[in-house]
């Protein structure tokens, strides 16, 4: 009997699902509206619809489900996380507010510098008498009564989550763990994040900030996952292989995800970058910018030489976080982004979004704020009768009225000028973000391709590529499903890390091997519990090392296992080489320390693969579905432009801009001077005049 895999991705506006038949490789796609107040409803709607397709699929035939979610991200970006309290070691209130003390490089020259807001204000911060020393000894016992009083005060102030970060808890978690027990006694049900669990690493500020983020989004994610799992059980889904995409582009079980909520902050966008990278690779492009524009935000990722850029030190919305994640930029620019007039009397766009509900004014869901989608509709790029294939009728009069009232009238502009102004401003924001992601890293945009997806990516990509001098835009066959596709082209991945600092030369090799064996046993047990046969699990190992006296490590991977005494010289030389390659020098006379023992387990899962078609003649005959009036600067006004249906465009088709291509999940605009064609994978390729 056939079994199926599901990828389901929740965006700000739509929930997308791909149903993959494991045997035939056939794909079925579903799109439903997102339900921001409880995204699990939209997910279940999509799953129900999927099960109803193909003449009905029994829910126990679903063997695997991977989920990309923005619940934590949106909670942070829209300041809708839990009201969070903080417990820290007595005397150390400044750790969170001073942060690292320096200004970020982009603001170092700015006498009018402002910090990003604190997620926990000082008035919800409580000091606890306790102290652990640098070597893990308890210098002062935890004052349990003080913890109780503090928790009661925070409870009276109605916090929903408590972050706990004590000094040196990564050396000895006793006081933090005991604090968690007391919190549960005093305030049962309150969410607790402990710094020694979130990120057991030295440097208190990064650990504290990550822990605060974890607590801030924890209740949001936990409630969500619980609800979703319950509903899936009710719907009859039996598979144990329920996964969430993590910020690092790998999958983690539902249960695992709630252990580390802050590791899902980039879940949705990570899936998009993985999907974009996959599409690029099928076309032989190893240098790609992925641009995912949804309802609330635009996410920009860079793939260079086929590698997705990763980091463990980053910031999300100005908040420091040090967990493994894909290196990407998110800005508040999407279809639902609201246009408004600022205090200085100038037009602003974003970062606030009308989301899916009430959504843009044209959705007729009582939204009155003008949005980017309203502007795209007024200018003729969107078809009011064919949005989502006609499932959502757009009301151009409501869009025009909103822009007229909130933008055009106050600024004394025409409706067209106002709508065009909204797009100009949102495009500049995205252009700057892409330029920062590319050129600041030393990449020349002229060598890159721009993969545009999400519902709104293809609307804007042609214009952005033009100003950024990116010669080629790729619009995938299902632009709205790229992130969802990313969920079905990545592996299940678990990272294990053990910290034990000591010199390499005198390391007990038997102990080293036994530490790796312990991690391997855990990895195997985790994979077996998730239903993967060990034959499909791939283990890789590395040692993180540094010269004695340095503070940061470099990972040295190795394949031989178990290690022998003689391997130490090889590892040492390998470390020297990596250090020289990375930093321009090596110190062969200095001693080398092992800091971390690392192990990564990967279970390969059958992946979706795109069908390739014969290229037809270059003159494949195409006729526009219709034509309509749309505004183009180059035409100095509205022009009649051909409108094509994406599914009707044959492989090999070619046509010039200006033109509009409509499909169920997106609309592509080809600007004057650009040329479009359909390639063998049925991607829409736009060549931008250099």
């Amino acid at each position: 009997m056939a079994s199926y895999r599901i990828g389901v991705d929740v965006g700000g506006t739509f929930t997308d699902l791909i149903l993959l038949d494991e045997e035939t490789g056939n794909i079925k796609t579903i799109k439903t509206s997102s339900t921001p107040r409880d995204p699990s409803i939209g997910v279940m709607n999509a799953i129900t619809e999927a099960l109803r397709s193909e003449n009905g699929i029994s829910p126990d035939r679903i063997s695997f489900l991977a989920h990309g979610t923005t619940v934590t991200t949106n909670a942070l970006l829209q300041s809708r996380g839990a009201r969070t309290g903080l417990l820290l070691t007595e005397g150390f209130r400044a750790i969170y507010e001073v942060r690292e003390q320096d200004r970020p490089p982009s603001r170092s020259m700015d006498p009018f510098y402002e910090k990003a807001p604190m997620l926990v204000p000082q008035k919800l911060t409580e000091e606890i008498p306790e102290r652990t020393g640098f070597d893990g000894t308890i210098v002062s016992a935890l004052d349990e009564e003080a913890v109780r009083m503090a928790v009661r005060r925070l409870r009276d102030k109605a916090v929903e989550a408590i972050a706990v970060c004590y000094l040196f808890s990564f050396m000895n978690p006793t006081n933090e763990e005991r604090t968690a027990e007391i919190i549960q006694e005093e305030y049962p049900g309150c969410w607790v994040s402990l710094s020694n669990r979130v990120i057991p690493r030295i440097r208190e500020y990064q650990r504290l900030s990550s822990t605060v983020l974890d607590a801030y989004v924890g209740p949001v994610l936990s409630g969500y996952v619980d609800r979703l799992r319950g509903e899936m059980e009710q719907a009859g889904l039996k598979t144990r292989q329920l996964y969430v995409m993590q910020s690092n582009g790998g999958l983690v079980t539902f249960g695992g995800a709630t252990l580390y909520p802050c590791r899902t902050l980039l879940s949705g966008p990570a899936a998009g970058v993985i999907g974009g990278s996959y599409i690029g690779s099928t076309l032989g492009h190893s240098d790609v910018v992925s641009l995912d524009i949804g309802g609330t935000s635009a996410d920009i990722g860079v793939i260079s030489r086929g590698e997705v850029q990763e980091t463990t030190e980053g910031e999300i919305d100005g908040q420091a976080i040090s967990v493994p994640m894909i290196d990407l930029r998110t800005i508040g620019a999407g279809g639902g982004t609201i246009a408004w007039i600022g205090g200085d009397g100038l037009l602003k766009v974003g970062p606030q979004s009308a989301g899916a509900d009430p959504g843009p004014a044209c959705y007729s869901l009582s939204g009155t704020e003008p949005t980017v989608t309203d502007a795209n509709l007024v200018l003729g790029y969107l078809n009011p009768a064919y949005f989502l294939g006609g499932r959502l009728k757009l009301d151009v009069h409501l869009a025009a009225a909103a822009i007229e009232k909130r933008v055009a009238a106050p600024l004394g502009m025409t409706l067209t000028e106002a709508a065009h102004g909204i797009l100009k401003i949102i495009n500049v924001k995205m252009e700057i973000a892409i330029r920062l992601a590319l050129i600041e890293k030393g990449y020349d945009p002229r060598n890159f391709a721009l993969i545009a997806f999400g519902g709104a990516g293809p609307l804007h990509a042609g214009r952005l590529a033009q100003t950024l001098h990116i010669p080629k835009v790729i619009v995938p066959l299902w632009p709205g499903l790229t992130s969802t596709m990313g969920l079905l082209v990545t592996d299940v991945r678990h990272d294990y890390l053990h910290t034990r600092v000591g010199p390499l030369r005198t390391a007990d090799i038997a102990l080293v091997n036994s530490m790796f064996r312990q991690m391997e046993a855990r990895a195997q047990a985790d994979m077996e519990r998730e239903g993967f046969p060990l034959s499909r699990v791939e283990i890789s190992r590395y040692l993180a090392m540094r010269y004695s006296g340095q503070a940061y490590e470099l990972n040295v991977p190795f394949s031989q296992f178990p290690l022998a005494e003689t391997d130490k010289d090889l590892l040492r030389r390998e470390f020297d080489d990596i250090h020289e390659r990375s930093y321009g020098h090596k110190a062969e006379d200095a001693s080398v320390e092992i800091v971390n023992y690392g192990l990564v387990s990967k279970a390969e899962v059958p992946k979706l693969s795109l069908a390739q078609h014969e290229l037809g003649g270059a003159d494949a005959f195409i006729t526009p579905e219709e034509s309509r009036s749309a505004y183009f600067e180059e035409c100095e006004g509205y022009a009649h432009v051909p409108v094509y249906r994406r599914e009707a465009l044959p492989v090999g088709a070619q046509f010039p801009g200006p033109a509009i291509v409509e499909q169920v999940d997106s609309t592509t605009v080809i600007y004057p001077g650009q040329r479009a064609s359909i390639d063998a994978f049925r991607n829409l390729i736009i060549r931008v005049a250099g």
Binding site: D102, M109, D110, F112, I202, I439, Y552, H585
Partner: protein
């Protein structure tokens, strides 16, 4: 053929990418906490003429120092004698642009097909290079010779080969030889990576194209600065400020004075009215004062303008010979940070007269400490050197930011967990200093307070500022709180220290508690929204007493409610008393 704007833009950004990569490498490979935690280091690229073409702006104080350094190297080693694989090192504040003796600058030429096309540079603060106290920076030094070993420009590497004698001499002159040599090699490594990237740029673009692009990048910066200046009204404005003392003569304040003259697209900063050079180490070299001028001017015009030689072309700095801002050799300079911060505040105050909407109260006072001794846990000698921020002055429409490095300085705080792991000391407190932000309609930024307890006998050196004369507020705003440092507070051996000290022997178990001076406020305090005052009280930024005294807001100590009637009465009284 003139370069197309895309190529210039790409090369400009590639330059910044190279500089940022160099910067990242020196942080990552650092051995001393002052490099790898405080990140007191900057990387830059200069063209073959020594003109700065790209610099990481992490530390504005390093903006003006590389040009005189390249000039010093080229004076001693003209281009024809420089070989591929050479790396130079220098730290002499009088010959080169080094701010003070512990700051070592490494320069490595980038050769392409046998010709020098650029210099890659890196400055990094060393934790100790000898001298009279651990950390080399005595608050009471009277000659530069007390501040550590002074190197003129010398070859550290010759044609790729380490010049072992130089390294041996340096090792022999430091309390922490392994750290300074490790950091120095890291500096060479970072410049070499920069050189490699420059060579890759030469492969991609012709070296001549590269030089043209360098010129255009510099011209672009000059244009942006001049255009910004052109939009300001012409005029002459001045400002002055005082340091407590020079560390030697504790009763005599030190005056800094600036006259800013702006005409058309030109501007000059004349410091001639400042006091004569001091016996103590609060003198500052002109290259560093230039950094302060660049920072304040670019910050006021547009902080996103790329820093390079283009700013230097616009900014004229006049420093009277023999004054505190242009001392004669061998005057000590190690405590330059105090007068540098004062200079930034004075310049910003004067510039605020040209653009009143950008007027800002004075930022709080940075300071630093070092604790040194002979016994770490591994039995080696150690130097714990820390650099502290404060808060920004309040400005139109907003409070000053609290707990941050300000103006020309931008070092990170050393993590508590790193300090305790590596040095025999424990921290007891690290908190924002309540009431340290100057009261005003908009409140000055708060500084912070730190308390240490030594676990071994050690030597403590303090270099603070504004213990007697606070940083000022504007438009009726009050000054920030004074800084202070107390040994053994509340114990029998309690002792208040002056803002700068010699190396003091402190036995194990000594408690050192210090607070940094806070920033000034903006506008009349009794015009501050009472709700904002209450919020400050709830957050612990302002005490109930100061809420009443400074702001005229009466808050019930039990219920934390504002007494609206009593507050109105008190505020009316305060307003009429003015």
């Amino acid at each position: 053929m003139p370069l197309d704007p895309i190529t210039i833009e790409v090369i400009a950004n590639r330059l910044m990418e190279i500089v940022n990569t160099m910067q990242h490498i020196i942080f990552r490979t650092g051995y001393s906490t002052i490099v790898r935690e405080s990140k007191d280091t900057s990387a830059a690229i200069a063209d073959v003429a020594g003109n700065l073409v790209g610099q990481a702006t992490q530390h504005p104080l390093h903006l003006g120092i590389f040009t005189p350094t390249i000039e010093a190297i080229l004076r001693r080693y003209p281009l024809p004698v420089i070989q591929e694989g050479d790396s130079f090192v220098v730290n002499d504040p009088y010959i080169a642009g080094s701010p003070h003796v512990p700051d070592f600058i490494v320069a490595t030429p980038a050769f392409y097909h046998g010709k020098i096309v650029a210099f890659c540079l890196c400055i990094a603060h060393k934790p100790d290079v000898g001298g009279s106290v651990p950390g080399s920076s005595s608050g009471v030094a009277t000659e530069i010779f007390q501040e550590g070993i002074i190197l003129p420009p010398v070859r550290y590497y010759s044609a790729g080969i380490l010049n072992q004698e130089v390294e041996d001499i340096l090792r022999n002159n430091s309390r922490v030889p392994d750290l300074i040599v490790g950091d120095l090699r890291g500096q060479v490594g970072c410049t070499r990576v920069g050189v490699k990237r420059i060579q890759e740029l030469c492969e991609e673009y012709d070296p001549d194209v590269l030089q043209d692009a360098f010129d255009e990048v510099v011209n672009g910066t000059e244009r942006r600065v001049r255009r910004g200046l052109g939009a300001w009204p012409d005029g002459v404005h001045e400002a002055e400020g005082y340091l407590d003392h020079d560390g030697i003569d504790l009763d005599r304040p030190v005056r800094l004075h600036v006259v800013v003259t702006k005409k058309g697209e030109d501007i000059s900063f004349d410091f001639s009215g400042s006091d004569d050079q001091t016996r103590g180490p609060v003198n500052i070299r002109p290259s560093l004062l230039r950094s302060a001028c660049h920072y304040a001017l670019v910050g006021m015009i547009d902080p996103t303008i790329a820093n390079n030689h283009g700013v230097t072309r616009v900014v004229k700095v006049i420093c009277r010979d023999g004054s505190v801002v242009n001392p004669r050799f061998p005057a000590p300079v190690n405590h330059y940070a105090a007068i540098l911060g004062l200079a930034c505040s004075c310049i910003l105050t004067a510039l605020g007269e040209f653009v009143p909407e950008k007027a800002t109260a004075a930022a709080g006072g940075g300071s630093s400490i070092s604790i040194g001794g002979s016994r770490t846990r591994t039995g080696q000698s150690y130097v714990q050197y820390e650099l502290f921020g404060s808060g920004y002055g309040a400005r139109r429409h907003s409070d000053g930011v609290s707990g941050t490095m300000v103006d020309a300085g931008n070092c990170k705080i050393t993590p508590v967990e790193i300090i305790e792991t590596e040095f025999p000391v424990r921290l007891n407190r690290f908190e924002l200093a309540r009431d340290s932000g100057g009261a005003g309609k908009y409140r000055g930024g708060l500084s912070f307070l730190r308390e240490y307890e030594t676990l071994e006998d050690s030597i403590f050196t303090l270099r603070g500022a504004y213990y007697i004369r606070p940083k000022w507020g504007i438009f009726g705003g009050k000054p920030g709180a004074l800084g202070w440092c107390t040994l053994n507070p509340g114990r029998s051996k309690e002792r208040k220290l002056p803002s700068a000290t010699r190396g003091m022997d402190i036995p194990a178990g000594t408690v050192v508690r210090l607070a940094i001076a806070g920033a000034g406020g903006y506008g009349e305090p009794h015009e501050r929204d009472a709700a904002a005052v209450l919020e400050d009280v709830l957050n612990g930024y302002v005490s109930l007493e100061k809420a009443r005294e400074d702001y005229g807001v009466i808050i019930d100590a039990e219920t934390f409610q504002v007494d609206v009637e009593a507050t109105r009465a008190l505020r009316e009284e305060l307003a009429s008393a003015r």
